[in-house]
Symmetry: C2
């Protein structure tokens, strides 16, 4: 018997639907998490939260996550510590939310904003008022008190009009912005505005990864829960301790370490000799 | 002024639509081809040709294509030659078509079938009769005389019922099958049936890439046009010449060469020092 529930997508994480069929994927499945979040992104699109191009972007992320090994690697952990320290030190931290983020980690986004006392702002590449509203609703349903992005009066210089819209009390006056799963143009424009930009991006070679001040090369589904843990731990640190963590950081070094990690992974995967034994 | 044309997606390749806006991307844009085909896949989904999960798969392909360098590399060229030789030698060659293939290279698919005298069969992971019909229509509109897949009476052993459906006169009795952009389960099942399986897959580590007899690690938008050229050239070869090309081939070696190429690319990209010069 196949039952199709009609709850919103972020309620039931352990069932998969295809057409009218419900498929339960066991947690033991080697690609369980990847399949689960693939389904969440598709559901996000069906509900008007994620853009169509967001699905393609998710696929690119999947490929890089596979190359990384689908786990948090040391250079990502180091970048996360610095990111959290910087958010805690900020006068006006803002966490940007787009359609993919809202589909994948709505609860974690809200919690991360709470523990770092950051504001939340919806900021879309393919901005439509409807999508901004839907994403704001998702965040409010999962516990956010305030969500910016609905009343943008300012524009980020150098971006087309729709894409550049931001709220004065949000990204416009932020000193530190976390812009996860973001495109290179926006990241670069924010850096040019003098902001300290943190990104989460599985592709260490993307323009976004290269332009940001801190690049967390990790899957956001692992990064946000870990950053919440770190923030809870680090919010008792003194300003001096936090500043020391930030001052010792070199993003270029971190990105190089990620590339070396991927290179090693490719070698290992190639050595495993997992292909067909016989010749044709 | 923004005009939205209502022609089918495969007619106007050089314009991009976003909502009600028409954006013309100049051919000089460094990522022109990638953006163009991204748009084609989205349009394919909007027209009911491509599955939603097909968009995510396209994104995975984009990531690997980026790592390869978005060009046809020598091991792919070698694999293509063998693939074409084998198709020309076959008694009953079949080219399988899914939603992504139909969105990206409908004309090329039809032409490749013509020059290799192969049959075309629509074969979907997420099979619905509607989607099979739509894809068959696209192929017929672009010149195919016969498209199989609408009347499957046989099943590939080892696949779930819907996914395993094939036509008796098509994949069922084929000796050589080209199954591009295919999932590992199907590739493996076809190999188990004793068929000679050729795949086009940008991920050299995928199960499909590893299970196939010949794996073309290239973007299908470059591979199919090149295979058409090769087929036109090679159809005058003698059987002995074609057999020699096939007999000298080692798919494991080709896949290893692809991995080495990607490893070198990563090193080069890391060395280019393309990231921000300043420390934070």
């Amino acid at each position: 018997m196949h039952i199709r529930l009609t709850l919103p997508f972020y309620i039931y994480p352990f069932h998969f639907f295809r057409g009218s069929k419900m498929v339960k994927i066991p947690k033991s499945h080697p690609r369980y998490w990847s399949l689960l979040y693939r389904e969440k992104i598709i559901r996000g699109m069906e509900e008007g939260i994620t853009a169509k191009a967001g699905l393609i972007a998710h696929g690119r992320g999947e490929a890089f996550d596979y190359l990384i090994g689908e786990r948090t690697i040391p250079p990502a952990e180091e970048a996360m510590k610095v990111a959290v320290a910087k958010l805690l030190l900020a006068n006006h931290p803002v966490i940007s939310v787009n359609g993919n983020v809202a589909a994948l980690v709505p609860r974690e986004t809200v919690e991360l904003a709470k523990v770092t006392r950051a504001k939340l702002e919806v900021n879309l590449f393919y901005r439509t008022e409807e999508r901004v509203k839907k994403i704001a609703e998702v965040l409010k349903k999962t516990g956010a008190k305030e969500v910016l992005g609905l009343n943008p009066t300012k524009r980020i210089p150098g971006l087309e009009s729709e894409r550049g819209k931001v709220e004065e009390d949000g990204i416009w006056k932020a000193d530190v912005v976390l812009v996860p799963l973001e495109d290179g143009d926006r990241t670069e424009a924010l850096v040019r505005m003098g902001k300290f930009v943190i990104t989460v991006d599985l592709n260490p070679l993307s323009r976004s990864a290269r332009m940001a001040n801190v690049t967390i090369v990790d899957n956001i589904i692992r990064a946000y829960p870990r950053m919440i843990e770190l923030a809870k731990e680090m919010r008792d640190y003194s300003r001096e301790e936090l500043e020391e963590i930030v001052n010792n950081y070199d993003n270029n070094k971190i990105l190089s370490e990620v590339l070396l990690h991927i290179r090693r992974r490719l070698e290992e995967l190639a050595k495993e000799g997992i292909w067909r034994k016989e010749k044709i």
